[in-house]
């Protein structure tokens, strides 16, 4: 295909004032990418470790948790926390997109409220899930 790379591009990210709708729009893409790669690889890793038998799953758990406290190590903990928030953020912006697909919610005020709501919902659900995990010990 003939494409001229010298043609100018719209400076779309640099000239607009940021608002919640822009933020959640790019977050939908960023969290989707993080989930697709990070979440996907972790999911496959977890399942293949389980399928490999008891010793193989023990190695997986050993890598993820600390021997001293039995709790998640810092890095796996941060990754899982980030993926949990990414999931709920992607889920709420996804539901918002499904509603927008019906043609509803394009009025400026409602659109902005919906965008802010996705951030509130994702953060609340993440805190609830990790609260439940930390409360029961692991």
């Amino acid at each position: 295909m003939a494409r001229n790379p010298a043609r100018p591009l719209s400076p779309h990210l640099t000239i607009w004032r940021w608002g919640p709708h822009m933020l959640v729009s790019i977050l939908h893409r960023a969290t989707g990418t993080a989930l697709a790669l990070g979440g996907g690889i972790l999911f496959i890793w977890w399942l293949t470790a389980l399928a490999g038998g008891e010793a193989s799953y023990a190695r997986f758990i050993d890598l993820m948790t600390s021997d001293a406290t039995g709790r998640l190590n810092l890095i796996p903990g941060l990754v899982l926390f980030g993926l949990t928030w990414s999931f709920f953020q992607h889920m709420s912006t996804g539901i918002r997109h499904l509603l927008l697909d019906t043609g509803a919610g394009y009025e400026l005020k409602i659109n902005k409220m919906g965008a802010v709501a996705t951030l509130v919902v994702s953060t609340t659900l993440t805190v609830l899930v990790w609260g439940a995990i930390l409360m029961r010990g692991h």
């Binding site: 494409r3 496959i44 399928a51 758990i61 899930v129 439940a132």
Partner: protein, 128 residues
């Protein structure tokens, strides 16, 4: 109908009738992801995740393993469609082709690996 240029060869043939397929399947798998992943998160939160036997028992139920296989197909199909759009937005020419091929390998290979692991556990795992 011409035979020379690309546009000449396709002019007059009409659309390929697949214009809305990608858009629709992205939404279809969004819906199935929502159902299956909410189920998965609730199920996982009720399990002792460090306990091998509890997980094997959980996965040996047909309801669990089939739901997890469906979740794998739905998620990997959805991520293949989604990352395709991301790649098409930021990559051009040769690197776009390479990235799309790599994405297809990842989506199909990853899903196959996960489904095989689920089936292996379902068929051989739960010797309690």
């Amino acid at each position: 109908m011409g035979t020379g240029t690309g546009i000449g060869r396709v002019r007059g043939l009409g659309s390929a009738k697949h214009g809305s397929q990608h858009w629709w399947r992205q939404r279809l798998t969004a819906g199935s992801n929502l159902l299956l992943l909410v189920w998965l998160i609730v199920s996982l939160l009720r399990l002792p995740l460090y306990d091998y036997r509890a997980l094997m028992l959980w996965l040996s139920s047909p309801f669990t393993s089939v739901a997890l296989i469906l979740a794998t197909i739905s998620v990997f199909y959805h991520l293949r469609l989604g990352l395709q759009v991301v790649i098409e937005d930021y990559q051009h020419d040769f690197s776009r082709v390479v990235a799309i091929v790599a994405l297809n390998f990842y989506a199909i290979g990853g899903a196959a690996l996960a489904i095989f692991a689920i089936l292996k556990i379902a068929f051989t795992g739960a010797a309690a």
